[in-house]
Amino acid sequence: MTSDWLQLLTLDLAVAGIAGLVLLGDAVLPGHGRVWGRLTAVLLAAVLGASFVLDVSGSTPHGAYVSDAWVLFFQRVFLCAALLAVLGALDWLEARAPLRQAEYYALLLFSVVGMMILPGARDWTLLVVSFELMGVPLYVLSAWAKNDGPADRPKLAAEAGLKLFVTGTASSALTFFGLALILGFTESTLISAVPTGALPPLAGVGLLLVVAGFGFKVGAVPFHMWVADTYQGAPTPFVAFLSVAPKAGGLAALSVVLLSGWARQSAVWEPAVLLLSVSSMLVGNFFALPQTDARRLLGFSGIAQIGYVLVALCTHTEFGVAMALFFIATYVFTNLGAFLVVHAAAEQSGGHTLVRLAGLSRRSPFLGAALLVFLLSLAGIPFVAGFWAKLFVFLAGYRAGLVWPVVLGVGLAVVGLFYYLGVARSTFMSEGESSAPLHAGVALRAAIALCLAAVVGIGLWPAPLLQGATRAARALGTVPGASATR
């Protein structure tokens, strides 16, 4: 089934169009910075809406790009993340960098375009290029706060950008190197063109180097070192986006590569991914424990979360993938929301440390409650989305026979609770320096409220999202691996 590629790429092109419009519009009509943000938000919402209406399914003639439930699932997740990130950044950008607003949105959107192509890419070329398209704008945005904030912030901004950039380019070099090795043993550049039979060692090396490159993007240990530092230096509304969307993108890339075709070679990659998973869980949780800066804490916690979701990927079963999708979708809302709350609080308390968050629930019950919900979701507490997410990935892992990683994960989830509750302790139990009421802008509050609604909604009624995730996983299709029912 082939179709017109323009139709397949409708949504991607629409987002690219918005980016172009914003960039061009700002050039033509400078000085109307805030308009572009609102326009972006509205148009993104429209695209998101369109994703539910338009039929964009199909594939290109040679199968380099497909569009199906799998792709749509991710595209909606990315669109949601982008929309929320834009809403969350509106007031901040307006206040801090009124002249560079359009730039910000455009860069963000370019990255989103990369992400949106990623899950549908079935050709190595398309995959790596869209992967890089997703990545490069992030380097720039990380250093966005170059002129902004208190004295140490500009320094931190440069540092955030550089750390992300240096580790990122080193990783992409690895990806290319690995890809080069893979393509030496395949017939075509299609990802599904997998050498049959025993994999030549060099191809195996290549595959895992590619995994390493993607692992960087999701922040898996040991490719995670940039995470906390970049989160600390980059502007928080952007970190909200950075901490979720590229991770989802990386996960999409990993899934596409490892499962559509290479599932047959799971014996090669499964131990490696499992290793990444376990080390991420361990490192993420233990490094998060002593953190005193909310952004670093959430950074390490995100690493741990990636560790959990990789367990589900290791199962390379349709069930496991569905659970991973469910996980990453809830994670997007949860972590984005958490960072936006931290941002809202920090904007007025002058810092992101836990001490500065003290008394938040008194100063703004809404923000306090929202943060609590997000933390509980991250910790995996019932009736918020994260509970189901964690449960499902563990269930998938357990069902696939990955008993010890699951037990470890369950145990480490308790360690996680220690620091999540630590944040709750400062926001709810400690008295802060100031008790003045805290006001966040309408857009920011709306973004937080949307996240909150999603997290609570999924928590109360997980079935629809689960259904969607299952459909998406089925669409991706996995080669029924030998170890699916181990």
């Binding site: 563990f394 037990v407 302790r425 689960l466 259904q467």
Partner: protein, 514 residues
């Protein structure tokens, strides 16, 4: 009969909590009344359940079934068995009186009531959930609000560093409310983690991939599966039931918690743990339950005696009561370990009796603390002059605590001991009964020191008796203690039907332990 009766019971407090969210912060009286109405609705529902539950029919009644995650076989399936009836009543009584006892919470009262009601919805849910998964889900809901409830509204006290582990004082403010809240939450969630793993094992070995408790009950799990599941469930739920040595969250937690929270936590939540061990562990893994019974029972008697001994030398009144809970929950676990009808009836009855009794205790301690501003027993004295009603109710609770005939505590303890005496391990009763004696020593000494003695002067000269809503807990719970002590069949008839049903399926149990 309405088929939505159980959902009403479970949801009423949560709905009240949602309504509270909409109320303005200043509407203090409305906050309380909405909370009370939510609690009363549940209690009324529980009474209707008890009234119309057909003892002759037995089994699971008032069945409701809503799919939650159908693809994984997760349903919200609610039904009441005989045990549920007793425990629903308990929860209803405790939450109503708990709300009344919290009438004077003045700091962030709206949040307080919201959390309290959410918590209690979870408790109600656990007792009627017939789906293991939802059981666990609601169990977590019942456990977690405790963190904030203790952390925000709790109280702190000093614990001097000592012992081989004194280095931990560098990191933890041992004794502070934050510490207590964190320890409680973490220990209980470690337990939850064990339960979760056990659940996975059951789910994946059930063949049907279902969480339905009745369906799981019908599955004959292999012995090795059972031997894996049971200890996980025992320790997981047992942590909440205060099983030694995982009980240490309980004294600090209960001592730090505000009154209503202590009432609920010691009164109802610890029962969730024991209920879980019996309902999930013993019913689903009977062979393992038999194999592990010596350990479960042995640890239970350690609980009874050790808890009582620890209580006997506490100087802080709340700690006395808190350790007494550790001791009394040992009675529940001992009853569970007997695996016979007398023991199981006793265990469930003890859940009820101890819930009422300790609820009453904590309500009174809160009342005294509010007036005297101290919980140090030695500093008090002669309070009966000024607060006779409190003294009477405290004495009543003490008597139930030491197992006096005519109070609910006796029926429960006696049944448990009877059950234990007819097992292969009759010696279990020795530490059990000794524990009851030590209880008599410390509760009566506390009652004597606090309430008896010359008319107090100085700072305690102007104490006063219970007033207004404060009467709620003493009257209701005190009356319940006596009523259910004199005529235990009010509840035992329900409990026995279910115990018998569970035991009848497992004739091997009686033989094995006899």
């Amino acid at each position: 009969m309405s088929t939505h009766l159980l959902s009403l019971v479970v949801a009423a407090p949560a709905v009240a909590a949602a309504l509270l969210l909409l109320l303005p912060r200043q509407a203090r009286l409305a906050t309380r009344w909405v909370s009370l109405c939510g609690a009363l609705t549940s209690l009324a529902g529980a009474l209707v359940v008890a009234w119309s539950w057909d003892k002759a029919k037995g089994g699971f009644q008032f069945l409701e079934d809503y799919p939650l995650v159908p693809s994984l076989g997760i349903h919200i399936k609610l039904a009441a068995d005989g045990w549920s009836v007793a425990l629903l009543l308990l929860t209803g009584l405790i939450i109503v009186t708990g709300v009344l006892a919290s009438w004077k919470v003045d700091r962030r009262d709206k949040e307080f009531f919201i959390l309290l009601l959410v918590l209690v919805s979870g408790v109600f849910g656990v007792f009627v959930s017939q789906d293991l998964f939802v059981f666990f889900l609601l169990y977590e809901i019942a456990v977690l609000p405790m963190y904030l409830l203790i952390g925000i509204w709790g109280s702190s006290h000093e614990v001097p560093p000592a012992g081989p582990f004194r280095f931990v004082w560098k990191r933890f403010a041992v004794g502070s409310r934050e510490y207590a809240a964190m320890k409680l939450t973490l220990m209980l969630l470690v337990g939850s983690a064990a339960i979760l793993v056990a659940m996975f094992v059951l789910w994946s070995h059930s063949g049907a991939r279902t969480f339905d408790l009745q369906a799981l009950q019908a599955v004959a799990f292999s012995r090795s599966t059972q031997m894996l599941v049971f200890p996980l469930v025992w320790l997981g739920f047992g942590t909440l039931a205060g099983v030694f040595p995982f009980h240490t969250w309980s004294p600090d937690g209960h001592a730090s918690a505000p009154t209503a929270v202590s009432m609920l936590h010691a009164g109802v939540l610890m029962k969730l743990g024991a209920f879980g061990v019996m309902r999930v562990g013993m019913v689903l893994a009977p062979d393992a339950a038999v194999a592990w019974a010596p350990v479960v029972g042995g640890v239970a008697v350690v609980n009874i005696l050790y808890g009582a001994l620890c209580a006997a030398s506490q100087t802080d009144l709340k700690y006395v009561i808190a350790y007494s809970s550790v001791s009394h929950m040992g009675v529940v676990m001992l009853g569970a370990a007997t695996l016979n009808a007398a023991g199981w009836n006793g265990a469930v009855y003890q859940m009820f009796a101890h819930g009422i009794m300790t609820g009453l205790f904590f309500a009174l301690v809160g009342l005294v603390y509010e007036r005297a501003h101290t919980r140090t027993i030695a500093r008090m004295g002669g309070f009966a002059h000024a607060m006779p009603a409190v003294a009477v109710c405290f004495t009543l609770a003490s008597l139930s605590s030491l197992g006096l005939p005519g109070t609910a505590g006796f029926v429960a303890e006696f049944l448990v001991f009877l059950g234990a005496a007819t097992t292969r391990f009759p010696w279990w009763t020795v530490p059990g009964v000794l524990g009851a004696f030590v209880t008599a020593v410390y509760v009566l000494r506390a009652a004597k020191t606090i309430f008896w003695g010359p008319l107090p002067t100085g700072e305690f000269a102007h104490l006063e008796d219970a007033r207004g809503t404060e009467w709620g807990a003493p009257l209701v719970l005190g009356a319940a203690l006596v009523l259910f002590g004199l005529w235990p069949r009010l509840l035992l008839d329900f409990i026995d039907v279910t115990s018998a049903a569970f035991l009848q399926r497992l004739p091997l149990l009686a033989d094995a332990l006899r």
